[in-house]
Homo-oligomer: 456 residues x 3
C-alpha cells in the first residue's frame, strides 16, 4: 500500500504479473497536444512549474478548487517559483484526484524525487527539480526517449506549416513525431472567428474561395500535404457528432451565407458541419487514414475563464444529455467497412451507447480509451469492464495520452497499463479468461493494437 | 482461477456457498426466442456451427469485429464446417466478451468438451462436437431436460397457429413450452410492412377491419386463443415505451389513414402505438397475465446488415437518450395495482430511472433482469448492486435467457446464478444482510419468483 | 461478516482504521426535514412505529413492494401496533435495500435491540422498543444528544414563524437546530396552489403584492428574518434547475398574469422560476449564505398516492433525461466566485455532469453527497469513487441526512462514514494516496468541511 508503489492500482496477483509483462513496452501515443516546436528546439524545462503546470489546465482546475487565484496560475506577475510554492501550499488537498498521482508519478519516475508535494517540501522539490531538469538527459527529446516513446501524434491545424515535424523527421529524431489533421476551425462555422480562419486557410493555399467546393479543395490540398509529412489520421473535437448526409448544394448555400458575413440559423450550422465532416472522412478513407472523433466536450462553460484567459483553460465539461446516435449514424453507414473510425468516450453516460455502436458497425469502427475527464483510474476501469462485455476488447484503439506536457507521457501510459492489468487480471482470477489470452490482450492494447491500427 | 472453474464469477466464500445452494434448481425461463417447431421435431443438431452459431447474432457480431465476413457467417456458399473453422481462427480474440464464456460453457457443461476454441483446436472440436451432438440424449427435448429446464416461454406473433406448442402439450413433453403474446407487428404502424401484416391478421381471424376496434377485437380473439394454449404473458419490444392515454376516436382516425395506405406523421404513430399498447395491457389485466416491456432497443442502425441480411442480425443498439418516464407514466397509472408489469433494462443509463419507477409503483410493477447487451457478468452485477439499493430485490422478475439457441439455456442461467451469488455473498460479507435471508433471496430470484409471478 | 458488525460496509483494513478515527466525531447535518416543534416539545416516541415508520416514506415504499396496503401504512384505522406487526410480517423480504439496514441500525445502536425484525420477532421488538423509547434519555433532544448531533438544519418555508427554532435557541438547547430558507412554494408558479401560497406570503409580511418586486421584497424580508434566527443557507428542490438570466420586466409580466389567475405557458413558468431563483441567490450572496440545489426529483409520478395521500408519500422518482447544464449555466456564471453553491446529485446518470460543472466553476461551487435515492451504500460509494477522479474530494460539502425522523441521524451518518472509510481505504491500499492524507480527507468530509462551509 505504498503510495505509487509496486502494487499501485493493481488489486490482484495476476494483474501484477500482467503489468510486469507490459510495463517496458515502448509507448505509441496516437493523440496528444505536443508542442512540436519545443521538442525540435530540444531545450530543458526551466523549472518544475514550467514542466508540470504551466501548460496543463488539469492542474489549474484542481488548484482553483482550493482557492489558488489566477495570479498564481495563469497570471504574468508571479515568478514560476512563486507559483510552484502556491501550488505546494495546497497540493495535498488534491488527494484522490488523479492529478495528485500524475504529478507525483512524474517527479518520482522521471526526476527521481520521492518527496510528497506539500507546503513544507515546496522549496526542496523546487530546488531538486531545478537540478534534475537541467541535466542534458532531460532535454525534451532525451526525456521522450527515456520514457520509451516510439511514436507520438500531435494535433495540428490544416494551415500549420509542419515545419518542426519536417525538421524532426529530417534530423532522424529517434522519437517519431507525426502530425494529425484537425480541421475543427474550418468546421466550426457557428463561431465568431470562423470567417477570419477561412481567410487564413485561403492564404495558406493561395486561392479565394467562391464555393464550398473551394474550401473542400483547400482542405484536400492540406490533407495531401499532411500525408507527405507522415500524418496517418484526422481528428475532430465535437460536442455533438453532427454527420448527417447533406447535399453539396445545401452546404454551398450555407457556406456562401456565412462567408458573406451573414448570421446562420443553428440548423444551418449543423448541416454545414455535417457536410464537411463527411468530406474529410472521404479524404481519410481514400488514404487509409484513421478518422477520430472526440465526442461530447461542451466548451467554455465558465465565462470568466474564457473571457479573461481564453479557451482550453478549464471551462470545459461534458453533458449526459448529448445526442450521439441520431447525428452520427449517417456517417457510420456511409463509410461502412471502408474507413477506420475511432470514437472517444468522455462522459461515462455515453459509454454504453458508443460501445454498442462500435459493436454494431463491425471491424472498422472502434472505441478509443476513456478520454480526458474520464481517463482517471476509475474512469478507465469502468470503461474497460463494461466495454469488454459489449464490444470486443482486442478491437479497442489503445491508450492515447491527450497530453499537454512532455514529462507526462510515461505516467499517463503507466496508469493505463496498470488499470488494464488490474481489470484483465481480475477477469482471469474470476475464471473469465485463460491466462495466455490475458497476456496477449494486455500486450495488444498496450502496444500492438495502436501500432497496427494507425499503421505506425 | 481456472477458466470456467468452480470459482467462475464468484469472488467471495459466501458467494460460493450460495451458488452451491441454487445451482441445481430447475430453470424457469419466461422469455426466449425458442424455435418451437424444432423442439417438437426433436432432431439432433447437425454440428457445432448449427448448435452454437447459426441462429445467434451475438456470435456473428463478435466475429465481424475480428474481420470474419458474411460469407462465413450468414452466407449460403460455405459449409458449416468451413464457417466453424473460420470462427475458430479468431475465437480467442473475443476474450473478455461474454460470448467467449457462453460458447465455452456450452461446450464444457453440455458436451463435455474442455478444449479451448482456437485455430489449432477448430477441427478437433468440430469432430468431438459432431459425435457428442449425434447422441440420442442430445436431441432438443432431451437436451432441455438435461439442462433441467422446467418451463420456457417462447415469443410468438398473434397470427401464429401455436401448432407446435399444442403438439408438445398434447405429447406431454416434460419440458413445458408456453407461448408469449407479442403483437409488435400490429403496433408498429410506422413500419413499411405494417399494412401487409394487418392483412395477415385479418386473414387469421377471418374478418376485414373497418375500424381500430376491429383490430382490437382481432387481437382479443388471438389473446384468448393464446390463453387456451397456456400463454401467461404478453411481451412488447419498444424503443420508446409510448403509452399515453389516447381516445379511441383519435386512434381510429389514425388507423383508417394508415389502413388506406396514407403516410402518417410521427405524432400519429405515437398515438396509435400508445392506444394499442394500453388495449393489450387491458386484455392482460383481465386475464391476470404479466405485461412485459422490453425497453430501449434501437433497431437496424447498420443499414448494410438490414438491407442485405434483414432484421435481428446484429444492427441493433440502445441509446442513453431514450425517454422513458414521460411516455410510460400514463399506462403505469391507468393500471395501478391491477396488472403485473415487468420492465426490462437494456441500457445501463436507464437502470436508475426504471428502478425508481418500479419502486414508486408498488408491488405489481417490477424489474426484469438486465437484458441483452446488458446481461453480461458486469451488466448483471451492476444492475443487481444498484437496483437492490433503490427497489426491493425480492421483487425482481428473475432471470430470462432471451436465448436464440437451445444449447445456451443452462449457460445463461448459470452465469446469472453465479453473479447473483457473488453480489449477494459480498453483501453478506460486508454485514449488509444476514446469511439465512441471503439464502432465501438467491433461491427466490433463481427459481421461486418467476414461478410465482408468471404462475408457472 | 456479522450483520451490522464491526466490519459493516468496510472491505479493507485501512478502511477499518479510518472509520475508527472518525466514528465518534460530532454530527453536522446541514439538510434534513426535522419536525422542530416536536423537538422543542421534547416528548418520547410513543412506540417503534411512531419512531421508525410513521413519518418515513422510504419505509412505506418498501412495504408497498411486498403487498402491505395503505391501511397498514398511512391509514387511520389501524393502531400503530397493528401497523408494526404488518411491517414485521414482511420486513425480511426487504433485505438488500438500505431501509433494511437503517431500521436495524436504529434498533441496535440507539435502542440496544439486537433481534432481527421478522414475523416471529414483531411483538417482542414492539415491547422492547416501547420500554426503551419511554426512558427519559430517549426524549427527542436527549436522543439527538446521545447521537452526538452538534448542529442540524431543518427545511423551512419563508412564511414559517420559526417559533420553535427561537424557543430552542432561547432555551440553549445543546443541539443547535437552525432553519433553512426554502422558498419552493413561491417559485413553483406552475402549481395550482401557487396563488393561494402567495396570499399566505402577503399575509405574513403584511403587504399586497403589486409587482414581482413586491414578492422579492417579501422574500427578502423573510430572508432577513431567517438570518436573525441563525439561518445559514437557502435550499431549492427543483426537477430542472431553471436559472436563466431573465429581465425583471419579463418576470413581472408573468407574475401579474399568474397573480390575476390566468394560466401560464410552460415557457413563462420557466422564466419566472429562473428569475426568482437568481433573486434568492443574490440574497444569499449578500449574506454569505450557502445556496443549495437539490436537482432532479420528478414529483408525484404515481397519481394514486398523490390523490389519496398527498405529496411526499412515495411517488417521486428521478429521470436520466433531466437537462442540467443549459438551464443552470447562467446562474453559475452570474455568481461566479461570489456565492457558495452546493449541488446535490439524485440520479447516478447526472453524477458526471455535476462533478464536471463543479470542477469547472472553481472553489465556491461544490457537490453535496449523493442524495435520497442515491444515498445508499452503493450510491454513495460510486459517487465518491467517480467524483474524486474529476473533482476534488476535499471540496465536497459533506454528508447530510435528509432525514425525516429523529432516530435516524446517527445511522445515516454512520453509513456514510463507513462508505467513505471504505472508499478512501481502498485508495490507500491501491497506492493512490498516502495514509496521513487519507486520515485528513475522511475527517474533513465527516465533520470539518460542512462545519466550515456552512459556518457552523
Amino acid at each position: 500500500m505504498e503510495f505509487l508503489g509496486p502494487n499501485y492500482l493493481i488489486g490482484n496477483q495476476t494483474g501484477l504479473a500482467l503489468f510486469a509483462s507490459i510495463k517496458d513496452l515502448p509507448i505509441i501515443d496516437a493523440h496528444n497536444h505536443a508542442d512540436v516546436k519545443a521538442i525540435w528546439e530540444n531545450g530543458n524545462f526551466s523549472d518544475i512549474w514550467q514542466a508540470e503546470a504551466a501548460t496543463d489546465h488539469y492542474v489549474w482546475e484542481c488548484l482553483r478548487k482550493r482557492g489558488v487565484t489566477e495570479e498564481f496560475l495563469t497570471g504574468k506577475d508571479r515568478t514560476n517559483e512563486e507559483k510552484w510554492l502556491a501550488l505546494a501550499e495546497v497540493f495535498d488537498e488534491l488527494v484522490g484526484n488523479p492529478t495528485y498521482e500524475w504529478v507525483h508519478l512524474d517527479l518520482k519516475r522521471l526526476l527521481g524525487i520521492d518527496e510528497l508535494i506539500c507546503a513544507e517540501n515546496g522549496k526542496l522539490i523546487w530546488d531538486k527539480a531545478k537540478a534534475a531538469l537541467a541535466r542534458p538527459e532531460m532535454r525534451q527529446q532525451q526525456m521522450l526517449q527515456a520514457m520509451n516513446v516510439e511514436v507520438m501524434c500531435s494535433t495540428d491545424d490544416p494551415v500549420d506549416s509542419l515545419e518542426y515535424h519536417r525538421k524532426l523527421a529530417e534530423a532522424k529524431c529517434p522519437v517519431r513525431v507525426l502530425p494529425t489533421f484537425r480541421p475543427d476551425k474550418a468546421m466550426n462555422i457557428f463561431k465568431p472567428d470562423w470567417r477570419e480562419y477561412i481567410g487564413k486557410l485561403e492564404a495558406c493555399v493561395g486561392t479565394t474561395f467562391e464555393s464550398v467546393l473551394d474550401l473542400v479543395a483547400a482542405l484536400q490540398q492540406r490533407h495531401d500535404y499532411f500525408a507527405e509529412n507522415g500524418c496517418v489520421a484526422s481528428d475532430h473535437g465535437v460536442e455533438v457528432p453532427f454527420a448527417f448526409d447533406v447535399e453539396e448544394e445545401d452546404a454551398d448555400e450555407i457556406f456562401r451565407k456565412a462567408y458573406a458575413g451573414h448570421e446562420l440559423e443553428d440548423d444551418e450550422a449543423v448541416l454545414f458541419m455535417s457536410y464537411l465532416l463527411n468530406e474529410v472522412a472521404e479524404m481519410d478513407a481514400d488514404k487509409g487514414w484513421v478518422f477520430q472523433l472526440h465526442i461530447g466536450a461542451v466548451r467554455d462553460v465558465r465565462d470568466s475563464l474564457f473571457d479573461e484567459i481564453g479557451p482550453d483553460t478549464g471551462g470545459d465539461i461534458s453533458d449526459h444529455m448529448t445526442d450521439i446516435v441520431t447525428p452520427l449514424r449517417d456517417l457510420l453507414n456511409r463509410f461502412d467497412d471502408r474507413l477506420d473510425i475511432v470514437l472517444y468516450n468522455l462522459n461515462p453516460v455515453h459509454t454504453g451507447t458508443l460501445a454498442q455502436l462500435t459493436r454494431a458497425f463491425g471491424a472498422r469502427v472502434n472505441l478509443g480509451l476513456a478520454w480526458w475527464l474520464n481517463d482517471s483510474p476509475i474512469g478507465m476501469k469502468r470503461q474497460l469492464e463494461y466495454v469488454g462485455s459489449v464490444d470486443v476488447l482486442m478491437n479497442m484503439a489503445g491508450m492515447v495520452s491527450d497530453s499537454r506536457k512532455v514529462p507526462s507521457y510515461a505516467s499517463r501510459h503507466e496508469m493505463f497499463r496498470r488499470v488494464l492489468a488490474d481489470v484483465v487480471g481480475e477477469m482471469v482470477e474470476r475464471g473469465q479468461m485463460p491466462l495466455p489470452l490475458a497476456e496477449r490482450l494486455v500486450r495488444t492494447l498496450a502496444y500492438e493494437r495502436p501500432k497496427q491500427l494507425f499503421k505506425l
